[in-house]
Symmetry: C2
Subunit: 259 residues, 2 copies
């Protein structure tokens, strides 16, 4: 991992380290630069506002992202932008082998009750903050159950999101994702971009609520995120699902070469 400094420095007294008070974004680095940079900076701004965290000027963040992208010459990469009260910086690294494999081969996905009925007004679930330990704990738990990833369910049975990805599914010719505004989940950058371009493949994009039982009956299920792009659920709660011919088409639409 390479670190590209922005300004300031990490200190032991930074609320970023003491209280996880910071925001981040992960972007897919491509030969032509960071993918969806504008959209990720928009979400970073939204996250910072929820956390009441001052951000450096946008031009400075854009320049940092470009500098970081220039520092990476080893094919597709992962760019992370981090902003805390004391510092901001970027890191670049290889896309994890797991992410590439899950994009290529799909995943085993389990649903699990998250115990959440509604998000309280102070919730930061709609912000991408560095208070991220529980997201990673949920993924570790899923792996202990023998699954690659987990889909969180609300107490009423509706699907919310995965710890590090958005839910996308195909039903008829409608490509769907979960409405972030209505549920308080993190608005998915990759999912939103995908839905905005669905028409190019003759599909219709729509935000909808869906239960785990309804999801099992859909044509295809994916987790959408910056580095994986789309990871198709090849099993849902243990039930095998046929590979969707749409996976390759949608990955190509998003500019992933599928290799």
């Amino acid at each position: 991992m390479q670190v590209i400094p922005g300004s300031g420095a990490l200190t032991p007294a930074d609320p970023g380290i003491l209280h996880g008070e910071g925001v981040f974004e992960t972007l897919h680095l491509r030969p032509n630069g960071p993918w969806l940079l504008h959209e990720h900076l928009d979400r970073l701004t939204h996250s910072a506002a929820l956390l009441e965290l001052p951000l450096p000027p946008r031009a400075q963040l854009t320049a940092l992202a470009r500098r970081a992208a220039d520092a990476w010459t080893a094919g597709e990469g992962a760019l992370r932008l981090i902003v805390t009260p004391a510092t901001h910086y970027a890191t670049v690294s290889a896309v994890p082998a797991t992410a590439r494999r899950e994009r290529r081969e799909g995943i085993t996905l389990i649903t699990a009750q998250a115990g959440i009925a509604a998000r309280p007004p102070w919730s930061l679930a709609a912000a991408k903050t560095i208070s991220y330990a529980e997201n990673l704990a949920a993924k570790r738990w899923a792996r202990r159950q023998g699954a690659d990833d987990i889909l969180w369910l609300r107490t009423d049975g509706h699907a919310l999101e995965s710890p590090t990805a958005s839910l996308v599914w195909l039903t008829g010719n409608t490509l769907c994702t979960v409405p972030a505004a209505e549920t308080g989940i993190l608005p998915g950058t990759t999912a939103a971009h995908l839905l905005s371009r669905a028409a190019e493949l003759g599909l219709h994009g729509e935000e909808r609520m869906i239960t785990a039982a309804e999801l099992a009956g859909t044509e295809a299920i994916w987790l959408a995120s910056s580095l994986r792009g789309l990871a198709e659920a090849r099993t849902l709660d243990g039930a095998l699902r046929p590979a969707s011919p749409w996976t390759a088409r949608l990955l190509a639409l998003l500019g992933f070469d599928g290799s």
Copy 2:
């Protein structure tokens, strides 16, 4: 704030800063050393296990706490121990004026629905992690409502905890707190110590569940935490409550001089 290094150093690639993967404890520094050091190190160990985070040997953490305590000579103080995958260190600083005032004068407390029905198996709510942004966001929200602090309610109406404190109340001659094991909340170090010594004042200590409505009818309500000790709720959801004669007695039992 003074920083007392343990080992390692903060780096921009530390999962402590990237993902809030670290644990901490806050202790009250007294002339005779860190208060309840053994109990706080027990909880740190429990938190680290939930996070699957390796801890330095206990003797090393104890020595760090003692070194940090020796570095503080300005009266009562706040000692923080922080452990991330890359480093561990301590900080010492003054007890915030707010904490001293709330101990002395009490607080205005509001209850609010946290939207949580049950904690999922991967929950880190029982661990004191540095993924702490939402706790502080809840306190900011409470202040925007005109209150000093907030008490989280489960969807079934039972009280859980405050973002940075445990709930304690007196009913008859029973001093109560919320059972951590049953609810998945953080086990309160100060509250547990208080209940274990209740008999010295002729009281009985007990873990119980309580609803907000039932709480309003109790003799006294406090938030218990390391630096405040006990902060008595002088209003609950806007309703004035008479000052309890027990506040000074319990603070004295805990070794706070009340000044």
